[in-house]
Assembly symmetry: C2
Homo-oligomer: 435 residues x 2
């Protein structure tokens, strides 16, 4: 035998079953497709626009944060050093700054101790699912189509999911009620509902305030928890911002997930969970759900890099813990981009051409129906021959669907790229429809 | 009902069962006990000494890294910016620098593509366990006593574990062979063995080169994988460094876990996996295990903060990818510290006083037997009345044991604290033995 032949070859069938689920390819697909076609104009990734952040300012933010530790919190020189370079508290150092920001921006008043700082919102999902789901009979309800990160996290942890189909206007109380009843009829327990109430990824839908209210009542009635994920809330295109479900949540049913990837900068990978629910533990005590989540986190990443926390902490301080105001220029950029994309679509695609698209109130995403299946083959032609990328909507469906739809994101593009990209898309659709 | 009474209280019995396992309290216990007794001298946490890193150098390391991207890799200004601030490749940006470092330091030659950069070594454990363990019948063998991070990760993922008792000299081939046979007799599959061959946490034991060789042969014979974790390998106290099992691994049985927490700085939370095994996937192709692990990572943290990678990348470049040499001053510091602790123990504890301790060849940890149970009550008295902290060894046993033993770490202390701390320990042991 040669040296190569001596080496073990593992069998994919012996690895965890999630690895054979297409869901787990989605994130890498979305993150890496851009690298495969570097010259294409990409409506694929929901990345923030690079013009909004300057890496040369990193040092200043760290300085701003350490000054806060020293001057506002009375840290000694050694404690400051410790806070920056050493292993830190599992749930993070900047919960108090995040709590202040949530109070200012969202009128959401939660104790700093209920906040778990995480490595991006993705870790928040893994931690919350792991804490809440105890058996295969506990079911996670998710809007269908849905963000791939929650589905993938559930698959990695063997959490049972049930798709709740979105209507043309997004999730409805009736469809959630029906899903809850179906889960109970199977003898299972509907444990939590995951949703993005503002400018959902991928559909762009938002929930009206009365739908939010009704879903909170339903959660109360059905003993359901709600996992509210809010990465895009600041980026309103038309109308005004709606209240988060967490800020309306008198019953304590909402676990809130946040992210600084879009509002500060993605390279810090900083997210958080607000888990202010009480848990009755065996010795009769009551502890915060955040403290239970902390135990899981200690075994997933131990703690979030202190460096990332220092940078984001410095940015929050710089903006006096008012991120919505600080993001006004970003919100304007994304609003102008989406308006330009919708305008360009209207100019390029005739009303009777077999295409249509929605007009979300904000966020990063527009969904467009094509007159043919929007599959990997179509994407390959679009990328290679027309130099334009998009995401097949079928990637986002648990139970199938969206076969002719694509997701268009304009968040990472300059205006001239949007105009050019939509023209390329027009040419691709016209040519491919004829094949 | 008052507003407070209206709020849901969750029942701990409905949460994931790992949360009721004492294992999951261990990491927080170890990380936070220091905060509870800020004036005590602490032999508890295995933290690196703070004197070895200067936060004011952060900016210089980032600069060194970006110069490398620009000058050595030919990145454009936009690509450099992208690399620092944007979402990045799931498996990381600095695999090539880590591969170079492993070749220089460990004579370990692996392709950069087989390296997954992780948020600390803890994420590496979660990812590897999730990829490899497909069913409750797949069993993870762990040395007993063992690092709490691997046990906790296994519990979080519902991975079945079996303890392999360590002898006075550490893990033996006979005990692993017996454990493999016992697992098979239960109709289960021994899937992987986790070990720290150099200066193990908590026992301080190291495996002799012939034991490493025999364990590799056993892995081959029994179709077992070996998860080698090597956080302390540079820190030799006496004798010379032993070869890593990965560098001896002709059969490709070893998955190697590394960390920059002790050798660069912990605040970056940077670790990695070397997973150069091939996996036969259903379509007949063969892919790297690192690519399979990447899919899991995309659903756990998406990617490792680019900021942390830039800092550690800059440090690796600064030291010409030779971290062993760069760590010579740290190794000398830890060697002197452990020598001083062993000397102090000899001076303070009489040979017939019912105490004994081991003399590890390196690393951070010494294990000491006391003449009474080293439980939480004893620790509370030691901390409150004598101002000295240590870790009960029972924290590290899966199947019970170590009831009278404590782990002493001297890695984070200055010399005068070690002398003072051992005297406090002497006074505590003398007083507590009389109660």
């Amino acid at each position: 035998m040669t040296a190569e032949e001596k080496r073990v070859v593992l069998d994919a069938a012996d690895l965890h079953s999630s690895l054979r689920d297409p869901l787990l390819d989605s994130m890498n697909f979305l993150n890496e497709i851009v690298n495969r076609y570097p010259r294409a104009i990409s409506f694929a990734p929901g990345r923030p626009y690079l013009g909004l952040f300057e890496p040369s300012e990193l040092d200043r933010y760290v300085g701003r944060y350490t000054a806060h530790l020293r001057d506002d919190l009375g840290f000694s020189k050694e404690q400051v050093h410790n806070n920056l370079v050493q292993y830190g508290r599992t749930n993070g150092h900047i919960g108090h700054l995040i709590a202040r920001t949530l109070a200012n921006d969202e009128d959401m008043h939660v104790p700093a101790e209920s906040i778990v700082v995480t490595v991006g919102c993705q870790e928040a999902m893994i931690l919350v699912l792991r804490a809440l789901f105890a058996s295969p009979d506990d079911v996670l309800l998710v809007a269908d189509p849905c963000y791939v990160g929650i589905g993938g996290a559930a698959r990695v942890l063997d959490v049972t999911m049930r798709a709740v189909p979105e209507s043309e206007d997004g999730l409805t109380v009736a469809s959630v009620t029906a899903a809850v009843a179906a889960v109970r009829a199977e003898g299972r327990r509907p444990r939590a509902l995951y949703l993005v109430p503002d400018f959902a990824n991928p559909s762009g839908h938002s929930l009206a305030p009365d739908v939010r209210e009704s879903l909170l009542e339903l959660a109360e009635r059905e003993n359901l928890l709600i996992i509210e994920d809010n990465p895009y809330g600041f980026f309103v295109r038309q109308g005004t911002a709606r209240p988060t479900m967490k800020s309306m949540d008198a019953g304590g049913r909402v676990i809130y997930l946040g992210s600084f990837a879009k509002t500060c900068f993605p390279g810090a990978r900083l997210g958080y969970v607000v888990a202010d629910q009480l848990v009755a533990v065996p010795d009769g005590e009551r502890v915060l759900l955040a403290d239970e989540i902390s135990k899981i986190k200690s075994m997933v990443t131990v703690n979030t890099p202190s460096l990332s926390q220092a940078v984001i902490g410095g940015m929050l301080l710089e903006h006096d813990c008012r991120l919505r105001e600080a993001n006004a220029p970003s919100a304007a950029f994304y609003r102008d981009n989406m308006n330009l994309m919708l305008d360009s679509l209207r100019k390029s695609f005739p009303a009777d051409g077999g295409t249509r698209w929605n007009s979300p109130d904000g966020g990063f995403f527009v969904v467009m129906e094509l007159p043919f299946p929007a599959d990997q083959r179509a994407l390959a032609v679009s990328a290679a021959d027309f130099g334009v990328l998009w995401t097949p909507m079928r990637e986002f469906y648990l139970d199938g669907g969206g076969d002719r739809a694509i997701r268009l994101s304009c968040s990472a593009l300059a205006p001239e790229q949007i105009v050019d990209g939509v023209e390329r898309l027009r040419d691709f659709v016209a040519a491919y429809a004829r094949t």
